[in-house]
């Protein structure tokens, strides 16, 4: 695929992120106001300074009015976007392009989701009226094909596979335990994770991300204007988005051990950012750990691990907060839950804190001090074989 990218043409100059969780105390409006308020304060601007808005939400509202009304936006463009679980990232991507085009000087990308008000467990989607033939498998079930297929293909013993999955959950909960914005702020023992009740296939409760409410926002300007707002902007190095043909479930050649959409979007993003060795180049990555086997396969699809060896890297602690390449240092979807529209921007918020060394000392990653500067965020929407994938790369320094 070919894309030109907008490397170093726009910058994030302010961000906000609400605590995620069962926010019975906050409605959609409250969450949007909280995230927007923190973001504009962070950039040192007022709502009036912002020229255009992109709102990402899947189920918590339709149209720009969902944002314009609570924020009392004065007759400005507000675009609501939706793209499965990559919805928040999609709001950010489109806001970046609008600024890069020169159409606007200052834009806000904001995402929100209020999942807990539905009264249901798990995600609930809105489906168009159909013929009723779509297999009604749950999301965990659709992803549960991954682990056994991976184990079989690479000869990983089922017990060891369970350890690998649990290790990912354990790591992300450990990271989330020290993050005040996370939904779950407790470490969970390997034993508890491994023995948790099964939801689908080999996936236990602790192999699945939670369901939560939350909102996050970013303020974006042209790169050359960034220092008018902050001494420490984050420049956008790459933005890639891919929708696949959705043929996995009917393709006998698809074996559920990879997400081709992720491979394509990662390759595109690395090309845009000029990265050839992501494992050595990145300071951190925030990836879409909706289920533990997803994170395992992502390590390979994103090029952090050799094919078939990701599980060994997981067990070796390569992706721990103090490992060679910290993955989900904020705790990931595992600790934050997954308010669809907010998650992509929440990932960027962690890059915002870590790459600018503003994370609290107890959870600041070491790779930044070691001289690595780039952070990656990744969203996956849909299910294996029929999904969308988003990859962004950001960093605090302009390239040469």
């Amino acid at each position: 695929m070919s894309s030109n990218g907008i490397r170093d043409r726009v910058a994030i100059v302010g961000m906000g992120c609400t605590p995620f969780g069962e926010r019975w105390d906050k409605g959609v409006d409250d969450l949007l106001i909280d995230a927007a308020k923190e973001a504009i304060a962070s950039a040192g601007v007022t709502l009036d300074d912002i020229d255009a808005f992109w709102l990402g939400t899947m189920t918590s509202g339709t149209s720009g009015v969902t944002l314009a009304k609570p924020l009392k936006i004065d007759y400005k463009p507000v675009t609501r976007v939706e793209n499965f679980c990559a919805t928040g990232s999609e709001a950010f991507r489109n806001a970046c392009y609008a600024v890069a085009s020169g159409a606007y000087d200052l834009a806000m990308a904001i995402g929100v989701e209020k999942l807990k008000d539905t009264g249901y467990s798990g995600l609930t989607g809105i489906r168009p009226v159909g013929d009723g033939t779509d297999a009604a498998l749950s999301s965990p079930a659709a992803f549960s094909f991954v682990a056994p297929s991976y184990a079989e293909r690479y000869g990983v013993d089922p017990e060891e596979m369970k350890q690998v999955m649990s290790r990912i959950a354990w790591k992300n909960h450990r990271n989330g335990a020290v993050n005040p914005r996370a939904q779950f702020r407790k470490e969970v023992s390997m034993e508890t994770i491994t023995k948790s009740p099964l939801v689908a296939g080999d996936l236990g409760v602790y192999d699945c991300s939670g369901v939560s409410d939350g909102s996050a926002a970013a303020i974006i300007c042209r790169a050359e204007d960034a220092h008018r707002y902050t001494d420490h902007p984050l420049y956008v190095k790459a933005l890639s988005f891919v929708a696949g043909p959705g043929g996995g479930p009917i393709d006998p050649d698809y074996d559920y051990t990879t997400f081709p959409e992720v491979v394509r979007s990662a390759a595109d993003a690395y090309q845009q950012a000029g990265i050839t060795d992501p494992r050595a180049s990145l300071a951190m990555a925030e990836v879409h750990d909706c289920f533990t086997p997803t994170e395992l396969v992502l390590m390979e699809d994103l090029g952090f691990s050799e094919r078939g060896l990701g599980w060994k890297d997981v067990l070796a602690g390569t992706f721990d907060r103090d490992g060679e390449l910290p993955v989900n240092p904020d705790g990931g979807l595992k600790s934050f839950g997954h308010p669809i529209g907010a998650s992509g921007l929440r990932m960027l918020f962690e890059c915002w804190l870590q790459l600018r060394q503003e994370a609290p000392p107890e959870r600041q990653i070491a790779t930044v001090a070691q001289g690595r500067t780039l952070g990656l965020t990744h969203n996956l929407g849909g299910s294996p074989g029929e999904c969308v994938s988003f990859v962004s790369i950001v960093g605090p320094e302009l390239s040469d």
């Binding site: 467990s121 798990g122 009604a136 079930a141 549960s144 094909f145």
Partner: protein, 488 residues
């Protein structure tokens, strides 16, 4: 000569309820034997489809052009149920499809109507029943669920049994009844029914024999069926036939199949009779019906092709028995025990226009093959996944094609009347992959490589709309023998 039978197909559901399980749960005496139980995703329409598929599976030549569907337990009122069967079988658009619903006796009407109309074209009668009754009652214990399809053809067709004669008697009296919406039938004092029935049957029996110009001892095989057990037993002893001619009662393991019973009993006779044998079917229901048939020389070849195709005889189906069902699950499936649903949204009702547009897929499980590269798409697609050629597709029916489980999962979160849902990725013989639900399967017994066949099921019912579609079931659940691919 008149029209006669050219093919038949029997469907007995996989599940059995041991009668002892009822006594064990409710206290009181434990019955012996078992009854057949339609799964939570089956109704009289889906069972009718399954029986019809078996009848057509072994039939060469044109499809039937009239279909009469009889059941006392219709899935819909006002809307014709036979059209769903018509759709799943992909009968021609000009073929008629009619319901004869409400009573057990309408089954005889369906058989007679199909026989009478089969002249220039084939026709079929589909008889199906799903019987519940109140918890602990005899109806619940002694009934069973199942369906039968009988295909008739004209004199020029490959008739396996000529229709020799029919005679009937009718009288209005209260033997067994229920009002619409109820599942439990009421029965008047049994001795009263017996008193009324026996002379009615004797009259019809005499008339039929006379009409055929035969005497009782000429009858080689006779089956007497009806829900009035005492009357049926009394009739069996009053016909004057040779004792060995009387067919055994099969209700010990599958129960009395109600409206399907006459057809299943007839199928059993066809599966055992020699060429040239005189068969009698006696139905005791709101009067009496006697049908006399004579097998032709074609019966041997028909039975042979049924064996080759792997279709089991009634005698085998009765013995094969499937999974034993806990009584509480039986009550849950029948809506007698209301269980707490998962904290998930109710299923959406399928839209009528979208359903109508996808009749060949939803009803006939028709995939599409790319003419350019051969890639098979389920559901049918217009743009080829492999080579991207647009609108160069040929339809291909996969409903009757077998497959194997490529991988599977146990879904404990998805909504189901009977959790957990088993999701399977199925690779079909000859190409094509699809992900669907599995049914009639033990979650612990499913494995990669398990052979499956497709089965027409009711996925759910939302806002009064039944959502029919196909699921995969293990081949060993059918009682039939896997033929590694089915009808091309």
């Amino acid at each position: 000569m008149t029209a006669g039978i050219v093919s038949w197909g029997v469907y007995i559901p996989y599940w059995r309820l041991q009668r002892s399980a009822i006594g064990a749960s409710l206290g009181g005496p434990s019955g012996r034997g078992s009854r057949s139980v339609a799964s939570y995703d089956e109704d009289t329409t889906t069972m009718g489809v399954e029986a019809s598929r078996r009848a057509l599976h072994v039939l060469d030549g044109p499809l039937p052009e009239d279909l009469f569907f009889s059941t006392p337990a219709p899935a819909y009122l006002d809307k014709t149920n036979a059209t769903a069967i018509h759709g799943a079988l992909e009968l021609p658009g000009w073929a008629g499809a009619y319901d004869m619903v409400g009573s057990v006796r309408s089954s005889v009407g369906a058989l007679r109507a199909a026989q009478a109309i089969a002249a220039g074209h084939r026709s079929m009668a589909v008889l199906s029943d799903l019987r519940t009754g109140l918890a602990g009652g005899s109806e619940e214990r002694d009934s069973g669920d199942g369906a039968i399809a009988v295909v008739f053809g004209g004199p020029d067709d490959a008739v396996v049994a000529d229709w020799v004669a029919h005679a009937g008697t009718t009288t209005e009296f209260l033997d067994r009844w229920r009002t619409p919406g109820e599942t439990d039938s009421k029965v008047w004092e049994e001795r009263f029914g017996q008193e009324v029935y026996v002379p009615l049957v004797n009259q019809a029996w005499a008339d039929a024999l006379k009409s055929a110009g035969v005497v009782a001892t000429d009858v080689d095989h006779v089956a007497v069926v009806g829900l009035h057990a005492r009357a049926v037993a009394a009739v069996r002893n009053s016909l004057g036939v040779r004792p060995e001619a009387v067919a055994k009662d099969r209700s010990a393991t599958i129960g009395n199949l109600g409206a399907a019973e006459p057809g299943v009993a007839l199928a059993d006779l066809l599966e055992r009779a020699e060429p040239g044998a005189l068969l009698a079917l006696v139905v005791v229901a709101d009067g009496a019906d006697v049908v006399l048939l004579r097998t032709t020389d074609a019966i041997g070849a028909a039975r042979e092709s049924r064996r080759t195709a792997g279709l089991a005889d009634v005698a085998d189906l009765v013995e094969s028995g499937g999974g034993d069902l806990p009584y509480t699950r039986f009550l849950t499936w029948r809506g007698e025990l209301v269980r707490e649903p998962p904290r998930r949204p109710d299923p959406e009702r399928p839209g009528a226009p979208a359903t109508w547009r996808s009749t060949s897929w939803k009803g006939g499980f028709e995939a599409s093959d790319c003419r350019a590269c051969g890639f098979r798409h389920l559901p049918p697609a217009r743009v080829c996944l492999r080579c991207r050629t647009i609108d160069e597709m040929d339809p291909v029916r996969l409903a009757d094609v077998g497959g194997r489980v490529a991988t599977f999962t146990i879904d404990r979160l998805a909504f189901s009347m009977s959790p957990p849902v088993i999701g399977a990725v199925v690779d079909f013989d000859g190409g094509g992959r699809y992900r669907c639900e599995m049914t009639d399967a033990d979650p612990d017994a499913v494995a990669i490589g398990t052979r499956v066949e497709m089965s027409f099921r009711r996925l759910n019912t939302a806002k009064g709309v039944h959502n029919y579609f196909w699921k995969a079931r293990p081949v060993d659940a059918t009682g039939d023998v896997d033929d590694q691919g089915g009808k091309p």
